[in-house]
Symmetry: C2
Subunit: 362 residues, 2 copies
DNA sequence: TTGTATGCGTTATCAG
DNA sequence: CTGATAACGCATACAA
């Protein structure tokens, strides 16, 4: 083993240009052992030591054993930065989230995204880096960060409004996977849920249970989820020969939903059902309806969208459409992992199903 | 300027060992320009080019102008990984969050943490890396990631249960700042809110408004926030000569709060007020009270804790204690930024105030 | 003020 | 199977 007290310097290998003085212990952390020290302790070259670390092919059992012993003894861990510089990989991917608005702060949505993604990335030994893009110069900043080699790829949550970010990212050549159909860019590398079908089914349920005057509070007209859920609602009502004029738009927040429902009821006091593009807004609707003396679901049925926890705790509990956010994020993570492993970019998006969950409100 | 069509190779500098062949364009991304190319284009040495990039001291105006022009022309951006290897800094800090449980998924808590922290880190030109620690081997994994040079420091949200993570991190020498008083470690480098005072004030308000039989649903007994809020409640009741026997513990979730309140009411049907250690549990309590035919606040007053959005939207809206989560995270970010900039570790924690917000429930 | 030389810790190439 | 050695891209003592 040739491990003299010094820890290095023996072994006869001609590669020790390092001054070898007492390591400059800055702060309080003692310097981590390097590959060179491992090689010296094992009596092999750095190249051989490196081989056993990376797969261990093409090395004699003897050399491998020696190196592994040295690694264990020194507590060696490869320095990720140095490795990145050499391999030009960082083994980390960014989760890009839109500007922090009411939705980021108060919606369980992002918690689920984060959980699903970090879990699937972990399975591929990738680290998640959260990049929140702020308005103003934040986008430039984010693009610079993402395209200068600090991450190997990105999962972009495309629930934000259409802007140039998506396009800039794919044009930069950075491997990207989108969660939610991306607007403003022509990429098939995304996973989404079938928002159209989900909304349609919700509306169909309302119709099947006898409702005839059905309104909706749609999401923002410039977000994919907002557009698609409105489309599904229209499809169902049109197919049933019902009018589709009772539409208001909300911003996916409780306050926004509250205001939108008030407008809707003012214009259409005869509504016997309302479909809201997410549960947060539906929760606001519940308050408005109660305040106006309408009973849910006897007088007005309420249907939400998301089922991310809130729906089960309102009074009455909300019937809603399951938004498989966590699974979407996980699939997006797998997608980017595939891409980074050399897989081909998927030619078709992954669309997860949108099932109903019936509770008391409709 | 000596810029021949080749872009490099002139200037007489003796450092061009690179083969100079057509860059291996892997994937679809064209290779980013390097410092060497900038130096060549500007007709200076790499050292000089490096100097103008890092502050620009000790360089002639002429050289600086030439380098800046070259940078602009080539669109040069320093490669962060190479820079990190040389400087031994990464300019990024980790946000360490506990295992993903119900709280991470459904609580707006983490959204606020993320927002506050990323904002303050951005001000210090630091990038936030989110590290979620899973049960099992997740902790080893996290510690390895955090202590091998991929981040310069960490902000640890200490709302998770007491475990060895805190200790392992500070012992590793990694600069750490905690959000919430850390259990299991003796560090003054944290920012918290005065949970004891907050809970005490809430209870005092209940007492001042005439309530005499006051119960509480405390948080977990092994989390700082749970412990402190219970303490505050006890202090107020004891000072008023009221009994402190009506105590149940919940897990900070709606379901947990629901169950805990049911137990509490079974044991103490005469309660005229209840203080819950967070709004999620308070929201569960609202449902139980309504179901049992008790009016809020006429029969039973309800007081929550957090005011992170939910409290304003329940029926009735919750009186609660403001938990300045975003400001805490921001302060923790500033703390770690200071530390990394060479500042001294703070000798005393930062404690933010806990104010009441009165709504209809109490 | 500028340039030279070297180090940062790995991986990868290419002779042996 | 193994070992020199050259990248990787940038920063920085030190010399001039």
């Amino acid at each position: 083993m040739t491990t003299d007290g010094n820890g290095a310097g023996v072994g006869g290998s001609a590669d020790a240009p390092t001054p070898a003085g007492p390591v400059g212990a800055r702060g309080g952390r003692r310097a981590a052992p390097t590959l060179r020290q491992v090689a010296a302790a094992a009596g092999v070259s750095r190249a051989t030591a490196s081989r056993v670390i990376n797969g261990g092919h093409l090395v004699s059992d003897q050399a491998r054993a020696a190196v592994e012993a040295a690694i264990a003894e020194l507590g060696f861990v490869p320095h990720p930065v140095a490795r990145s510089l050499a391999t030009r990989r960082t083994d980390s991917v960014a989760l890009v989230v839109p500007e922090p608005n009411e939705r980021l702060l108060g919606d369980p949505f992002f918690g689920h995204i984060i959980n699903g993604l970090s879990l699937s990335l972990e399975a591929a030994d990738l680290q998640m880096v959260l990049v929140v893009v702020r308005p103003g110069s934040g986008q430039d900043r984010a693009v610079r960060y993402l395209t200068t080699g600090k991450v190997d790829g990105a999962v972009v949550t495309s629930h934000h409004r259409e802007d140039s970010l998506n396009r800039r990212l794919v044009e930069s050549g950075l491997p990207c996977a989108f969660q939610g159909r991306p607007l403003g860019v022509d990429s098939a590398c995304y996973v989404d849920t079938d928002n159209v079908a989900g909304a349609r089914r919700a509306a169909e349920h309302l119709i099947a249970s006898g409702r005839r005057r059905i309104g909706t509070v749609a999401g923002p007209a410039d977000m994919a989820a907002g557009i698609d859920r409105l489309t599904g609602w229209r499809e169902a009502l049109t197919a049933a020969g019902l009018p589709v004029d009772a539409v208001e738009h909300g911003d996916f927040t409780v306050a926004g939903g509250t205001a939108a429902v008030q407008r809707l009821l003012r214009r259409h006091p005869d509504l016997d059902a309302v479909f809201l593009a997410n549960d947060l807004m539906a929760s606001g609707a519940l308050g408005v309806l109660a305040a106006s003396g309408r009973r849910v679901p006897e007088d007005v049925a309420v249907f939400g969208y998301d089922d991310l926890g809130l729906a089960a705790t309102t009074t009455p509990p909300l019937s809603t459409v399951v938004n498989p956010v966590e699974r979407m994020a996980a699939r997006a993570g797998a997608m980017i992992a595939d891409l980074l492993a050399g897989g081909e970019p998927s030619s078709a998006p992954v669309i997860l199903d949108a099932e109903l969950v019936l509770r008391a409100s409709a």
